[in-house]
Subunit: 323 residues, 2 copies
């Protein structure tokens, strides 16, 4: 049974040997650049950990894990164009370092490559894996669409927001976990429980991402703090504040958000409104609630605790974000 | 044995039932819009025709044919963003009608959908089909990259150009034909010959597209005439002219191309240089040469002529462009 650290190092090694060191460099170099930036490899590690929990061989799940990681990085690459984000993981985004056309095209090549890697697994479960992979891919696109659509609306409900982040963030995490379970030979109940584990973990993770974007430490967060506020993104914090405030408070918040104050000034002012409305605590409560639900689903899986250790540690680290 | 017209109508019907009439509309409506614009359905028809030529059932190849058509339309959608093209098939492009972000995202959803459609074929040849599909997808991305790279170079050789259009245009046509052959049960020689047929047909087709972009009839071409000259694209015509002209002729041509004259004026002036250099005839010769090669590969396939009729008619129509 591999530890979390071992699984991470297996993933890092595998990413280094994906073979993008080829021509044309302008197409493949941005892919290497994106993948070598690191990140936490949450999704492939989760996939491998789920596979081994159900008694599968980690080696058999490595292609699927790489497919998911490449796909995830593709979504970051294209999202950064759409959000016009200047930095990612402390470095220039691909569309800033090269240009938008290169970023579009390299991203396209990454989707195709992710299917290529998955197909090369030659598993007899390939049709089931492909169906799951496509499901998570569609979810991410639909979630990103809702996210963009919400930018022009001030009446987004918390339920709509949760559905959006479920699609945009949680289905990829849940899908990765279930793909690992499929390869590991899980039964339907097992696959169902790991999917729910992944979904709730994904929701907790995204709400925490919203929280860190406004309250995080710029040193460890990787992105600039305050991006969501600068762009007027509909986050858990903003939606919760809008529903907690009275009419005049709402008006004031929306005015602050649409003002043309400088970024940092705006961040401080909006934070002050959030603080007064108790938004930070509400976000922390939601994170803990979804996290507890995730663990409940993991507990329900009929496997020895020793097999669940890597998954448990991963979930824990993810929510504490100490890495 | 279905005729070409019957195969086209099978494709049109199948495209209408791909199920994009769903939420979120902003994601799926641009996909419907792109697919309903019609176009000639060359690639799916070719796939079905190749399948039936080798004795396969057209019904068994329909998923693969749709996958290829959706993928092809995805490439058009993203290429139009990259080329900043205002119209396609006589209508606004997706990024003009909606915006670039919607166009990027709908295109992404189309790639995923194309793999979904292909995977749903549940053929025992799925791994081989996936490998072929990925090969053509990578080719298109690499070809598009070279196409973009060539924009900043004036020393592109004819060989480099042919390799670029092989990747950007011909591998998709050749790959579609070979996927049909795989489903139809062709042997290795058969697959090889149909792939070469598709490649040479694709090269002839692209050179003709270059020719029509400069010399075509705006009524039937679908796009505005002169786009390649307006953007200074490296086409068969431009590369041939640059190699046929002497130093002062080359200088004059490049000056005309980079001038800020209005579109139509520039088109007339560049055309005059092309005419004097015999470029139009050279393009026509190349089209005929590649077309003859394509037919030679089709002839080499060990199947009765009656089975080849739809493919023969398709190749013929494609190069005559009477539809």
């Amino acid at each position: 049974m591999y530890s979390l650290e071992e699984l991470q190092s297996i993933c890092d090694d595998a990413i280094g040997s994906l073979g993008y060191n080829r021509e044309p460099r302008l197409l493949y170099r941005p892919i290497e650049y994106t993948l070598e930036a690191g990140g936490k490899r949450i999704r492939p590690v989760l996939l491998l950990a789920a596979c081994q929990m159900f008694g599968g061989r980690v080696e058999d799940a490595l292609s699927a894990a790489m497919a998911v990681e490449v796909f995830h990085n593709f979504t970051l690459l294209h999202d950064d164009i759409m959000d016009n984000a200047p930095t990612r993981r402390g470095r220039d985004t691909v569309h800033k370092k090269w240009n938008s056309n290169i970023a579009i095209l390299s991203g396209d090549a990454m989707v195709i490559s992710s299917y290529d890697i998955l197909s090369s697994s030659r598993s007899d479960k390939l049709p089931e894996l492909l169906a799951d992979f496509t499901l998570l891919g569609k979810g991410v696109c639909e979630g990103q669409l809702y996210d963009m659509e919400f930018e022009n609306r001030n009446d987004v409900s918390l339920d709509e927001y949760i559905e959006m982040i479920r699609l945009k963030t949680a289905v990829l995490i849940a899908g990765a976990a279930r793909m690992g379970a499929i390869i590991g030979g899980a039964d339907e109940t097992g696959k169902d429980n790991i999917y729910r584990f992944g979904t709730d973990l994904g929701l907790a993770f995204q709400i925490q991402d919203d929280l860190l974007d406004t309250y995080g430490n710029p040193e460890t967060f990787g992105k600039e703090i305050g991006g969501d506020i600068a762009e007027g993104k509909k986050t858990f914090l903003l939606i919760t504040a809008l529903s907690a405030l009275d009419e005049s408070g709402r008006k004031k918040l929306l005015e602050e958000l649409s003002s043309d104050r400088d970024r940092n000034d705006k961040l401080q002012r909006v934070r002050a409104i959030y603080d007064a409305a108790g938004v930070r605590e509400k976000a922390q409560e939601a994170i803990e609630r979804y996290y507890a639900e995730a663990i409940r689903h993991l507990d329900a899986i009929n496997r020895p605790d020793s097999c669940k250790e890597a998954l448990m540690t991963l979930a824990d680290k993810l929510i504490k974000r100490d890495y």
